[in-house]
């Protein structure tokens, strides 16, 4: 049952085992076990999956999730591109500050960030207070408890994830290419659109995949900033499991979510270098 070379490499294989067993027993097993409920409840078969085609709620949740994830991805890519571009072009010293700007939000508690957005965006929040104080508006703007608030929070969460793969691609672009193109008489815009942009595209695609799959499974930010009026897949699943106890239905959606993500990744793995997405080890 062991691969060839086992006796000589037994020691090495043994080193693989703790992580492998932990992941199998405490990660894969619980997930498979719970996802399998979608085939057994309320009765054996694919009944829950038929509802993807027939149930309006399922379809709407998937659409909402897809739409929000899509918008988030586009915005995070645009903003992330601007940051990655600035980092690439920055001097060595400035670059450190840039990277700190990108990294710090990445690791600040998602809760803290959501709560900070609430303080900024609500009716009596800082932004509305400031705008009204300055006389720009008379009535507070509705910046939160809607999809706008969710997207502000999610894009904020995702920009660093968009920056990192784009940055690693951009840093491999030889800056002399741009200087050379300028020397040949190209305008800034032509240099960017004809030289830099095409060379950085692989990083953009990688970032898009990463941001999109992360956005699909978002839970905390929409729950806090959505004001209850937006239901993305993750929260929908949680409602089915805890409040409505329709486990078969809820786990069906979980399966759909996981399969969608894996298929997206699998589809792009030919286009995108996964090692780039997930670091040297992928």
């Amino acid at each position: 049952m062991f691969p060839k070379g086992m006796p000589r490499n037994a020691g090495w294989w043994a080193l693989l085992m703790p992580a492998f067993l932990l992941l199998t027993v405490f990660y894969v097993a619980p997930i498979l076990q719970v996802l399998s409920i979608s085939f057994t409840e309320p009765e054996l078969g694919f009944g829950n999956y038929e509802r993807i085609l027939t149930n309006r709620s399922v379809q709407r949740t998937l659409m909402t999730t897809g739409r929000i994830a899509g918008i988030t991805t586009v915005l995070a890519l645009l903003l992330g591109y601007a940051v990655a571009y600035s980092v690439t072009m920055a001097s060595e010293r400035a670059r450190r500050w840039w990277i700190l700007c990108v990294l710090v939000p990445l690791w600040i508690s998602v809760l803290v960030r959501a709560f900070a957005w609430v303080t900024l965006l609500r009716r009596q929040g800082l932004i509305n207070d400031a705008l009204m104080g300055a006389g720009v508006i008379q009535e507070p703007l509705e910046l939160v408890w809607n999809e706008f608030g969710i997207i502000v929070g999610m894009v904020h969460y995702m920009v660093p994830y968009a920056v990192l793969p784009m940055l690693s691609t951009m840093r491999e672009i030889d800056p002399r290419l741009m200087t050379a193109a300028r020397g040949m008489g190209a305008s800034r815009w032509v240099v960017f659109s004809r030289v830099f942009l095409p060379l950085s595209l692989p990083g953009v695609v990688a970032a898009a995949v990463l941001v999109f799959i992360f956005s699909l499974g978002f839970y905390v930010t929409p729950a806090i900033l959505g004001g209850g009026k937006t239901l993305m897949v993750a929260e929908w699943i949680s409602v089915q499991i805890l409040d409505l106890i329709r486990w078969g239905f809820g786990t069906m959606m979980a399966t759909v979510l996981v399969v969608t993500i894996l298929v997206t990744l699998g589809g792009f793995s030919r286009v995108v270098n996964m090692r780039k997405l997930f670091g040297g080890g992928g």
Binding site: S57, Q124, G228, D243, L244, R246
Partner: protein, 367 residues
């Protein structure tokens, strides 16, 4: 995750402690009323534990004092232990399915009792032990659960925003007469009753709810509504002006009214009176003793009054209302004056329809 009423009681009590409105001694007393005996300590020879599960913190202690201790005093050899895990229906189901039941009594809901009962996951209430006569109404004694306390979802509003005060759910949904954001719980229960009444159903014929019509009203007003998940959140939405009118739990409404010098007001009229249903999970370790504990909770009018003082939970024993101190009467959902104007929640209807209706509600709200 949607917060339950019980969970919110605990948060509320903690806040009151923090604000200095009660001291720690009162707090502990209140908690004991809710049934808490210290969980630690060696188990004496031959004593048997009954495990009550609620939503933690102060409720934990209050339930111990007001429900647990009296039972233990009357039934030597038993100990009542509090667990604050939070017995959501999902958790109870998961526990019963895994055949590792460690709970005897869960602080659940009318819907929970019907749903779990229907799945064969709750014990039937033995009404030869629990006395139906110990409850003020039959919505408090269900087939799979009984309620030793009650609470209500009431209309609260910011009086500074309106020249005339709203008096009914019809006013609540009238955005022209009362402009401004509305606040509703993100759960169909009570919201659809309010919508039905707003559409002109008299209180006596709200059930069965015309869900299509009620949801239609919700859909029409959706853009001007914010939804809450937790009780503190609901209080905060009103306090910070995110909404000018809301349907929230009477406990939170009471806090707003007391603390704002009357700026925020709530009305009992057309409030939806709900039972705090206790459920015994199928195959509970304490067996029939749990029925006796429930009977004792139902019969204990003084304990229930104590709980009202501490957490605001309304008593359900017919003898209790008369023993409520005068200054608390206006905050007691089961005071006869208040009961008269409220709509008692039909737990059986909800139990039968909750999964479908709440799903439709969520779809409407999030559409």
């Amino acid at each position: 995750m949607l917060q339950s009423f019980q969970q919110d009681c605990v948060a509320l009590l903690r806040e009151r402690l923090a604000k200095g409105q009660i001291d720690r001694r009162q707090l502990l007393a209140g908690l004991a009323a809710l049934g808490v005996a210290p969980a630690a300590g060696a188990q004496a020879q031959g004593t048997r534990d009954l495990v009550m599960v609620n939503w933690g913190g102060l409720a934990n202690q209050g339930f111990g004092q007001f429900y647990g201790d009296p039972f233990v005093a009357a039934n030597p050899g038993y100990r009542v232990v509090q667990d604050s895990t939070g017995p959501s229906i999902g958790r109870i189901r998961s526990m019963v399915e895994s055949r590792r039941v460690t709970w005897d009594m869960c602080d659940s809901s009318a819907t929970g009792a019907v749903l779990l009962g229907g799945l064969g996951m709750a014990e039937k209430i033995d009404y030869s032990i629990v006395k139906r006569a110990d409850a003020i109404g039959d919505t408090f004694t269900m087939e799979y659960g009984a309620a030793p306390y009650s609470f209500s979802s009431v209309l609260v509003y910011d009086s500074s925003k309106f020249p005339t005060a709203p008096t009914s759910w019809a006013d609540f949904f009238d955005l022209r007469k009362f402009p401004g954001k509305r606040l509703l719980r993100r759960d169909a229960t009570c919201v659809l009753e309010a919508a039905s009444m707003a559409l002109g159903k008299p209180m006596g014929s709200v059930y069965p709810i015309d869900t299509r019509a009620a949801l239609g009203l919700i859909e029409r007003t959706r853009r001007d509504t914010v939804y809450w998940n937790g009780g503190a959140e609901s209080e905060q939405f009103i306090r910070t002006g995110e909404a000018v009118m809301g349907q929230i739990w009477h406990t939170r409404a009471s806090v707003l009214q007391r603390e704002s010098n009357g700026r925020f007001k709530f009305i009992w009229n057309q409030g939806i009176l709900q039972p705090g249903i206790q459920v015994i999970p199928k195959g509970n370790p304490g067996g029939v003793a749990a029925q006796r504990l429930l009977a004792s909770m139902m019969a204990n009018a003084d304990g229930q009054v104590g709980l009202l003082g501490l957490l605001g939970n309304g008593p359900t024993n017919p003898a209790a209302a008369g023993r409520v101190p005068p200054e608390l009467k206006m905050f007691n959902p089961t005071d006869p004056e208040n009961v008269r104007v409220q709509l008692p929640l039909d737990g059986n209807w909800w139990g039968a329809n909750y999964q479908r209706v709440n799903q439709d509600f969520l779809d409407t709200v999030t559409g």
